[in-house]
Subunit: 583 residues, 2 copies
């Protein structure tokens, strides 16, 4: 037996007991007459003591030669500490060591194993097994495990069946790029790794399993942006004989359960907003509603007045930044530069300062009278001391620009409180979006999403205006889940695929099995998927998902710890019937 | 709202209620004056009734035109049945239908959706979404989901943390073949899909997470035998600061919990047996101990007596088949043919009949006196009416041959009762096994398994005799789990890899990250993995795993439903920087 207790559980009630502990050496403090060692394991830290009066000399010598991160086992007696540490649960006791075994030595770690480490991102990833020893990382992984169990138990309790769908499936070039896997037994053919189990979960509905869920790895071979992973985890769900309302209620229930269990926060009903409204009020389909700063559309008030920039714009729109009228010219210039960066792409920024003394000062004073600006201020419901910031241009461009500015200001002003949770359903997404590059419509959600019945009549004439029975669950400005009511009619599915530019042959080759399944009594069904990595991060009060993944990949899709991907043996390639193209 | 109730929940207490049901049409029985429809969903069957006296004529006409597997929604009143069906929970009531909507039509399914279907394996796999509508398949998937939740909740309750390890990892040609995934971003390089998360879970132990588990998909690109799948699921576990005894107790606890919860069977302590003993007593390292028929070694009794076949054999060994002395010559000839088949490969079969009247008759009467055979019979503890069957040859060959015969006879005699559960720990496996083809030692479990400390001294001199701290959990003759205490010392790990024929460069290239990790304070650790597909099948009283997998692949690794693997577009290959080798 390596230990009788962990390093996190002993306290005053154990005083006098003989115990055996094992763990890593966090620190050694050698004061000459007495040596203290902090012994660490997953559960906490327990102080070990060796002193000249009570400890065998050889043992003290042995203890002095230990180093940080050595793995040791000690036997000893729990005694009361003279100088207690109220910050840790074991802070009232220490172990008077009687026996010490070195289980393993350690080189000096390349960064400190402390909550605030001196190690940079890269080295921490290379030595991820050391990084995980640090509380902030370890705690995030434990938190993730806890969320996973809560999710599964909740959904199982609601009658959902967990079904494992296959990982080796078929390539379908719609959507992102697939990772593919050459088949040795079927030369020249490839499996693909699933971008989501979408078609399988729909087949499970055809199969009659009316409530399905799975926590499942999905894969996308995308050019990686910051905080995107080529493999990621979804809570994937589907239900039969349901309408949108049933899905929303079920997963509102799940989310409430998580917020209650993990955060102690209770919610009544989550607010809902249409996509059109979200775009109008926040310029964003996943608005952070923890704070206001809503969009004020000002075409009527500010156009046709000789200010060409506004007059020629499709949309003039602003936000009221409360209590910021005191921003200096320098600060405003910096904000202007910020929105003009290529990532944002605005051509300029107009401000209207509504000073504390009631006076108004704007960057467009020469075009507008104070009365005109006063109307704007009133419409924005601004108070003395507030600052209005305005952008203009095409609706499609100016909304995301102003949304980015809104989020940036909220961040700077500390309005994005990580301890506050503001969920929001966004509904009635457009069915299709026009892709300029490909010169065709793409499915906004995916090709299996049902148009709203009342919009089916304009599917041919005004496809861009057709709304879908599609919904997103937004939490603190992050899309944590999204789904839709599915098409379950073969004809409508065929029409949808043709709208998306699939030839009949392509549709048959890629989705034939689903279309076939629809011939045998497909029930009405709908579903949703949550990005589990992001959900866990947000519930943890963070937005960076990488910290919640045990072994994440870097922005080149590389696992720097194991050094993958890597070259493989020629024999492997040959067996797989493939070769690498030489330039 | 599509339904107020499911098709499995209405009973006499609901009589008089207005309800809405939705589901599939199981059967239509049209008796002229009255038409009955059995409506089916995941939860059961409810009888719908349309009759001339009480139902609107148009509605009856509509009902008569429905077909099997149509998806319909009905509103109506729960009424008492005149002729009750006590076999189903809804058998006392029926629904007098007032409204009927056809939600989807169905072609006639290619096989009957009944417990006993007329569909063969191949067509059922092609239309797996229809196969799953059948109770026996559906129930197996629901059972699997239940087992999964029980496992996770038990292990979570024991302090295990579920950690998701990556799927895109690095190819390590030791063991079975890897599936590989070309990297687009890193041209010429490949990820591999994990055969198991072995190295990652060991790294998690180095990282200090002392109890890890995961239900995880693993992948092996093997030539598929019956009932092997290229992707399969493991319950993967690892613990730190533990000895073999701790792991055995923990997972005995898990298995007991499952047997109790799922089968209502309680166990005290699972029996244990060394590998050597299992091989001696059953010729098998995963003996089915639901029945006896143990091996009786008879070299001493039967050698050096002039029967050349026995005299020249390394091992003469038999089993006592109780109450089978009455086997006819024809039956015995058939058994002889059975063991002589190439799959078994015995050269012959010797029998000794101990007849009910006390007389003895054997196929080797001319070599042995009745007294000599009596000694054998006594050693076998045979009773009048029993039959002894003997094989001889090299120990290595004859044990598996006799084991196969033992299992075959047990099957024929009905000794393998699927409702009985006989767990067994097999311990002290050999560390290495000699591979004739490769002319080198292979790791019997895997290269990270620790030799028994007391055997380390003969690692260089008699590697074949070194025992490992490795263990299997056997249930009803199936290995359901296996694991080992791991090496956690860099030097011993290096030595092990060199014994396995790795050059230092290969060891570094493939396992360098693990060896490196061992430099930074690796704790003693050990683990186990359960084959989840098999575990679920055996707990379900079956041995075929395919039925417990929602979308299994066939023996060519093909998903015949979605038709994968398949050819991919030239553009995809080009992007991945690979091409197919042309013959």
């Amino acid at each position: 037996m390596y230990r009788t207790h962990t390093c996190g559980e002993l306290n005053e009630s154990n005083i006098g007991q003989k115990v055996i502990l094992a763990g890593w050496i966090q620190t050694i403090r050698d004061k000459g007459f007495v040596t203290w060692i902090d012994l660490r394991d997953r559960y906490g830290i327990t102080q070990l003591v060796f002193d000249e009066q009570r400890t065998d000399k050889d043992l003290i010598e042995k203890a002095r030669k230990l180093g940080r991160e050595y793995v040791i086992q000690v036997s000893g007696t729990v005694i009361e500490r003279s100088s207690k540490n109220p910050n840790i649960s074991t802070g009232s006791i220490e172990i008077l060591v009687e026996k010490l075994s070195i289980l393993n030595e350690s080189l000096v770690p390349p960064f400190t194993i402390e909550d605030d480490t001196d190690g940079g991102e890269e080295i921490r990833m290379k030595y991820r097994y050391l990084d995980i020893r640090r509380n902030p990382v370890k705690d995030k992984l434990i938190f993730r495990s806890k969320v996973a169990q809560l999710v599964r138990n909740y959904l199982s309790g609601e009658g959902f069946i967990e079904v494992e769908t296959p990982v080796l499936i078929k390539s379908t070039p719609e959507g992102a790029r697939d990772f593919v896997v050459p088949s040795r037994i079927n030369p020249g053919q490839f499996y693909a790794l699933p971008q989501s189990p979408q078609t399988f979960k729909q087949l499970l509905m055809v199969a009659g399993l009316d409530k399905y869920f799975q926590l499942v790895k999905c894969f996308r071979d995308e050019d990686l942006r910051a905080d995107r992973q080529p493999e990621f985890t979804q809570i994937d769900c589907e239900m039969s004989f349901v309408e949108q309302e049933d899905v929303l209620n079920t997963f509102e229930g799940l989310t409430k359960h998580l917020l209650k269990e993990l955060k102690g926060i209770s919610f009544d009903k989550f607010p809902r907003m249409t996509y059109a409204e979200a775009m109008r009020r926040y310029g964003n389909d996943k608005p952070d509603v923890r704070f206001g700063m809503e969009f004020i559309e000002l075409n009527e008030e500010l156009q046709n007045n000789g200010f060409k920039v506004f007059d020629e714009a499709e949309l003039v729109v602003g936000i009221n930044v409360e209590k910021c009228a005191s921003y200096t010219r320098k600060q405003l210039d910096e904000l202007t530069d910020w929105v003009k960066r290529p990532q944002i792409g605005a051509s300029g920024l107009v401000y209207i300062r509504y000073n504390e003394d009631g006076s108004i000062k704007s960057s467009v004073d020469k075009f507008y009278s104070e009365d005109q600006l006063k109307i704007v201020i009133n419409k924005a419901n601004a108070q003395p001391g507030d600052l209005l910031l305005l952008l203009s241009g095409s609706t499609k461009k100016v909304r995301p620009q102003l949304s980015a500015l809104r989020m940036e200001l909220a961040e700077r002003l500390g309005l994005r409180n990580p301890d506050e949770y503001a969920p929001l359903w966004v509904v009635d997404f457009p069915l299709l979006e026009w892709d300029e590059d490909e010169n065709r419509y793409l499915a906004m959600h995916h090709p299996f999403t049902s148009p709203k019945p009342e919009d089916i009549s304009i599917l041919d004439t005004k496809p861009g205006e057709v709304r879908a029975n599609a919904y997103d669950l937004v939490l603190n400005g992050n899309e944590i889940g999204g789904g839709s009511v599915r098409i379950y009619n073969k004809e409508l599915q065929g029409k949808m695929l043709s709208l998306l530019g699939f030839t009949e042959e392509d549709a048959e080759a890629q989705f034939g099995f689903l279309m076939n399944a629809f011939k045998f009594g497909a029930p009405p069904h709908a579903g949703i998927a949550f990005g589990f990595d992001r959900l866990v991060a947000i519930l943890g009060g963070q937005e960076v998902i990488r910290d919640y993944i045990a072994f994440p990949k870097n922005n080149s899709g590389r696992d720097v710890m194991i050094d993958a991907p890597s070259y493989i043996y020629k024999e492997q390639l040959k067996e797989l019937n493939i070769e690498i193209i030489k330039d």
